[in-house]
């Protein structure tokens, strides 16, 4: 078997106005089956994807935001969120969904999947990948 590669899915666009956020999630879910080292990056308007309380009924759209909370079941547990992108938009971690995973190496303790990083930290995450897919 070939070596495990580091895959980063980069999310920079707001949800619903365009389909990129939703179809990016579909890639992440399929990709989870391949046993690679998966991370997601949320920066710029991509941080809006993770907000709580999305209600698409009146707009007539499909609400895909609950899928983020299911990522832990697919062992997708590293969601890097950029602090500066939150700040510029007046958002804090409290505005985002509480996304957790069960750590099987730690007696299935529930741990947060969201990792807030600075812009410089995000650049470090990006520079540490083998494959970067942008949406």
């Amino acid at each position: 078997m070939s070596k495990v590669k580091k895959f980063l899915y980069v999310n920079r666009k707001a949800p619903y106005g365009t389909i990129y956020a939703q179809e990016a999630l579909e890639v992440v879910l399929i990709g989870a089956a391949f046993d690679q080292d998966v991370s997601l990056a949320f920066l710029d308007d991509g941080v809006f994807q993770l907000t709580k309380g999305q209600d698409t009924k009146e707009a007539g759209l499909k609400n895909f935001s609950p899928t983020f909370r299911a990522l832990g079941d697919y062992e997708v547990t590293k969601l890097y969120v950029e602090q500066e992108s939150l700040d510029e938009r007046g958002l804090t971690l409290d505005d985002l969904q509480d996304i957790q995973y069960e750590d099987e190496d730690d007696d299935y303790a529930e741990k947060p999947s969201i990792i807030v990083v600075s812009r410089a930290g995000m650049a470090d995450v990006m520079a540490d990948q083998d494959v970067v897919l942008s949406f």
Binding site: G17, T18, D44, G53, Q54, T56, E88, R89, G90
Partner: protein
């Protein structure tokens, strides 16, 4: 004689809202729809710019698109009125023309 302007892009990513607000006339209305609704949020880097440039126009935001994006009513900036699609239709009917900023 007044114009209803619509803007559908996030002002954090795209210059369209700024351009729209730079071309409105006093008494015009500006309605934010789709990803444009992020321009109606308070307490961020854009909100002062929007409040300043939008001082002479009436500012609206489309409720269904606000709800879809999980923006709490309390986060919609002062100065913006929420309308639903029927309100959007009323505004389009009562202005003299509609200019959609794409």
């Amino acid at each position: 004689m007044s114009t209803l302007h619509t803007v559908n892009k996030s002002p954090f990513q795209n210059q369209t809202l700024i351009s729209c607000l730079g071309h409105t006339k006093a008494g015009d209305s500006v309605l934010l729809i789709e990803d444009g609704v992020y321009g109606a949020m308070s307490g961020n880097a854009m909100s002062e710019v929007v409040a300043g440039m939008g001082a002479n126009v009436k500012l609206f935001v489309l409720g269904p698109d606000v709800a879809a994006r999980g923006i709490d009513a309390a986060r919609v900036a002062e100065g913006f009125s929420q309308v639903d699609y029927e309100g959007f239709v009323d505004m389009a009917a009562s202005c003299d023309r509609v200019q959609n900023w794409l």
